[in-house]
Amino acid sequence: MVIDVELRGVTKRFADIVAVDNVSIQILKGEFFSLLGPSGCGKTTTLRTIAGFEDPSEGEVFISGQSMAGVPPFKRPTNMVFQHLALFPHLSVEENVAFGLKVKRLAKQEIRQRASKFLEIVRLSGLEKRKISQLSGGQQQRVAIARALVTEPTVLLLDEPLGPLDLRLRLEMQEELKRIQREVGTTFVYVTHDQTEALSLSNRVAVMISGRIEQVGTPLEVYEKPRNHSVAEFMGETNMLGGRYLDGAVEIDGLSVRVTSQASKGTDIIFSIRSEKISIGKTLSGPDNVFKGTVRGVTYRGSDSVYDVQLSERIIIKVRSTNLALESIYRVGDEVFVGWDIDKALLISSLR
């Protein structure tokens, strides 16, 4: 396995704010790698450090094994698709795509050939002469991607490029990004705050929270096996329950919740149970833990609904349920049973 990008202990401070805190990651060749985190977590700064727009306060960036210390952006084998695209308004579609080739002073013939090849890859053939302002949002995205890929960089950096698109177009572009990445085989480093996007596109995801990388893994790993409290809380919709562990169960506000745990007797533990792993029904048998509760809130979302179910005085849990039939949509005040198998709950080792 070849490592394309490596960050070693990269820290970036702005005045007294630590934007990126001791980040070390290795990104493999040909990988679709996502940096996922809430806004302001330092993911864009990390990306800009790789591109060379920011110098790390500490640590080093390596691309293809070469240290990038002191290497300006225009000498790095990275290209970026900017958040607001930053397409050149005074140039046509073709001229935008050809920009990187022109500044490298390639022969006219070759510029034309390569520009048209990449316009074909992003499916914009025929729009070469258009002005940027005459394109739709999705087409502009494609120009930005073609412009960044045409010089065949080692790494393509994408800074939330799909943010301003509407949902339908965003899904379409996600598919396109996957296809383009498969076709060109370039390493993609993708920054997003949208978990669905990160999980569905990436080979591996790094979850970044307040400047730190909390977990790196496959989409399945970071979602199903969050390493700590922050990741579990950030990913998906989850219920955090905590109490004293006694003999295979946890006592929480009068409820005895059965869990699988290697924790020693008498210690305080926290576990997380995702809203979609909980079953809900008028009657319920089967799950290891079944509790009776009252629906206190309903968020109807078309394909599914999210219920706030009160189990005891202090415990309200979120339950997500697919809207299979009209009868299985509950209303506020309904008495329901909720339940889950013990292996669905994740033990979060650290108590915050």
Partner: protein, 294 residues
């Protein structure tokens, strides 16, 4: 009573709208159209001793072509004006660039400081350059003290060079504003994008910044070129014979020669040439883009 009041009120509003329109219209009429028309009219009249005879003739325009001093002086004015324009841009563009891209704090005070020359009288600036460039002037004593010259250079003052330097000093601050406006408006991430794609800072400037601030540059050119072509005060004071300009010629026809018709035709020819050049320049860039940059 109420109706009367409403009627009065309505009339007042109508009056105001009408007067608002007519104010700008009459302003144009009074200070632009009428004087130009008067000059145009005069240029077709005739001069006899000290009286002007309102009789149509195109003799004045024929004289413009016939007198061998007119056209070379006109060309000299265009060249001096072009040199002033380029020199002013050379000074103002870096200043505007610095203000727009590098300065984060105190932008407004710095911009205001650039207006310093406006607070000094025009004549004072010209006389200051007389002192600097003169035979016993500051520049000559400096050159002498540095032993760069044996004796004071007498080419500094009373030359086209002196006219150009002085006019650059007077006009370059004017340019900072349109240039600053177009640079400030430019999306800075475009420069990052250019650098990211492999453009060196110079390439990024030539391929992105310059074309995007082109309309502002055109406005700047017009700001300086138009008023300096007809310049006559500065050349009269620091120009000497070699710095004598077309504007001086017109002034002399009006003043000393008392030949208003000929002076008018010369002025009108200048107006027409500058206007055509302006229109061509605006058309090359696209008039709406130039308006945007204002």
């Amino acid at each position: 009573m109420r109706d009367k009041f409403l009627q009065f009120f309505r009339r007042k509003v109508q009056l105001r709208i009408f007067s608002g329109l007519s104010f700008s219209l009459s302003w144009f009429l009074l200070f632009l159209i009428v004087p130009t028309a008067v000059i145009f009219l005069y240029s077709f009249w005739r001069q006899e001793y000290i009286s002007i005879i309102p009789q149509f003739t195109i003799d004045n325009y024929a004289q413009f072509l016939a007198n061998p001093i007119h056209i070379p002086l006109f060309l000299r004015s265009l060249v001096i004006s072009a040199a002033v324009t380029m020199g002013s841009i050379g000074l103002a563009y870096p200043a505007a660039y610095f203000l727009a891209f590098r300065v984060r704090k105190y932008k407004i005070p710095l911009l205001l400081a650039l207006m310093g020359p406006f607070w000094t009288s025009y004549l004072l600036i010209v006389y200051a350059w007389k002192i600097i460039l003169g035979y016993d002037g500051i520049l000559n004593s400096l050159l002498l003290n540095l032993r760069l010259v044996e004796q004071p250079a007498d080419l500094l003052l009373y030359s086209p060079f002196a006219v150009i330097i002085t006019l650059i000093h007077i006009w370059s601050p004017w340019l900072v504003f349109p240039l600053y406006a177009s640079l400030e408006k430019m999306d800075k991430s475009l420069l990052e994008a250019a650098m990211d794609l492999g453009a060196t800072p110079t390439q990024a400037f030539l391929r992105v910044t310059l074309p995007l601030t082109w309309p502002g540059l055109v406005v700047a050119v017009l700001f300086v070129f138009i008023p300096t072509v007809g310049e006559f005060v500065t050349p009269a004071l620091v120009g000497g014979p070699q710095g004598y300009m077309y504007g001086n010629l017109i002034e002399n026809y009006f003043h000393l020669g008392f030949n208003w018709p000929l002076g008018s035709s010369l002025a009108f020819i200048m107006l027409a040439v500058v206007m055509v050049m302006t229109l061509l320049l605006l058309r090359a860039v696209g008039p709406d883009k130039v308006m945007e940059s204002l």
